[in-house]
Subunit: 189 residues, 2 copies
Amino acid sequence: MSQLFRDHLEAVSPLTDKEFEYILSHFRFKKLKKHAYLVQEDEYVKYEYFVLKGCLRAFVGDGDTGKEFIFQFGVEDWWITDREAFFQGSKASINISCLEDCELLGITLTDREKLGEELWKYEHFMQVKANLGYISLQKRLQMMIIGNAKDRYEQFIRQYPHLINRIPKTYIASYLGVSRETLSRLYKD
Amino acid sequence: MSQLFRDHLEAVSPLTDKEFEYILSHFRFKKLKKHAYLVQEDEYVKYEYFVLKGCLRAFVGDGDTGKEFIFQFGVEDWWITDREAFFQGSKASINISCLEDCELLGITLTDREKLGEELWKYEHFMQVKANLGYISLQKRLQMMIIGNAKDRYEQFIRQYPHLINRIPKTYIASYLGVSRETLSRLYKD
DNA sequence: AAAACAAAGTGACAATTGTCCTTTGGACGG
DNA sequence: CCGTCCAAAGGACAATTGTCACTTTGTTTT
C-alpha cells in the first residue's frame, strides 16, 4: 500500500529499506469519506498530505461574491495542503475537501524539518519537489493569462485526460477560472 | 557588494565567514547593460541568477498573436532564470532582458547541486526558497483569476510600491495580464 | 419505482476588456 | 534647439465571457 509512496520518493533518490521505513514512521495514515474536509478555512494546518487514494479539491471561497476558485486537485501520487498556513503555523485561508473517499499520509512541520535535518535525501527530495511544483504553477499561470477559455480547457484535457470524467465539470470550470456555462459551451461542438 | 547576497542567504540560516566565502566562490559575477538579454528563447540556460543591482523582466512572446506576457520582474535581492530550462538542461522557452543596467551573480546547475551536497545549509536554503516562491506564485494565480483588472492593479501597488515608478506601465500591464489601455483607464480616477 | 437532488446544457442580455487608431507630452541625440 | 522616438491617454467599437433564468439529464435515496 505504501509502495506508491516509496516509488514516489525514489523517483528523486533511491532509498534503502531502512531509510524508507524511517521516513514512513513519521507519517500518519488518515482516511476520509467523500465530502469530508481535510483542511478548513480559519483552522490551523498541522499536516502536509500525500494522497494514496481518492481525489480532493483545494479551493478558496470569495466571501463577497460567493464565487469559488479551485487551486488544485489532488489525486493519487500528489501532495496537498495549505502550504502557507502549514509553513507559517497560521490559520488556513483555503479549504480542502474530498471529492471521493480518500486515503492519505500526513506529516507535521516539526517532523518534516526533523527528517530533513537527519536525512539529506529527504531535504533534497523536498527541494526538488518544490521546484517542480513551482515550474508547473508557472505554466498554469501562463496559460491562464495568455490562453482564452478554450485554450485552457484543451490544455487541461491534454494534461489530465484521466481527470475529465472523474471530476464534475463545475469544478473543472472553477479550476480553469471560467463559469460553468462558458465551459459547457466549449465542447458542444 | 556581496553583503546583500550574504544577508539574503542568512535570512534562512546563519553562515560562518568560511561557509559564505565557499558558497560565493561558486558564483560568477555578471554585468549587463540596459536592453541586453540575460536569457534568450531557444538557447540553453546555464545559470540561475541572483540580482545584486538593476531590474529585469522575464517574459514569453506568443509567436502567433505577437502578445507578450511578463512572468516576473527581477530587482535587487531576487532570483531569476528560466527554471524549467535550467533544471532540465533544455532550451529556454522564455526571454529575460534588462530594463536597467544590471549586476548579477550566476551559478551553474552542477555547482548548485555540488553545493547542496556539500553543505546541508545550502540545500535547505534552496528548499525554503522554492517553497516560498511557490506560495507567492499561488497567491498571484489566485489574484489573476478571482480579481478583475482593478483589483490586480491595486494589489500590485500595495505589494510593490517601489516598482510603480521604476517600471514602464506597458510592462506592468503585461505582468497583470491586461492591455496597456485598460490599465491606463484604471488610474485616471 | 417515484421522488428529490445534483449536474449539465442553453438562450438572452449585460459587463468587462481587447483592439485599433489618434493625440499629447517628455526624453534623448545630432 | 529641433526632430525623432516612445510612453501614455483616450475614444469608438467589437469580442469574449459572465449572469440569470429555465430546461433536461442523470444519480441517489427511500
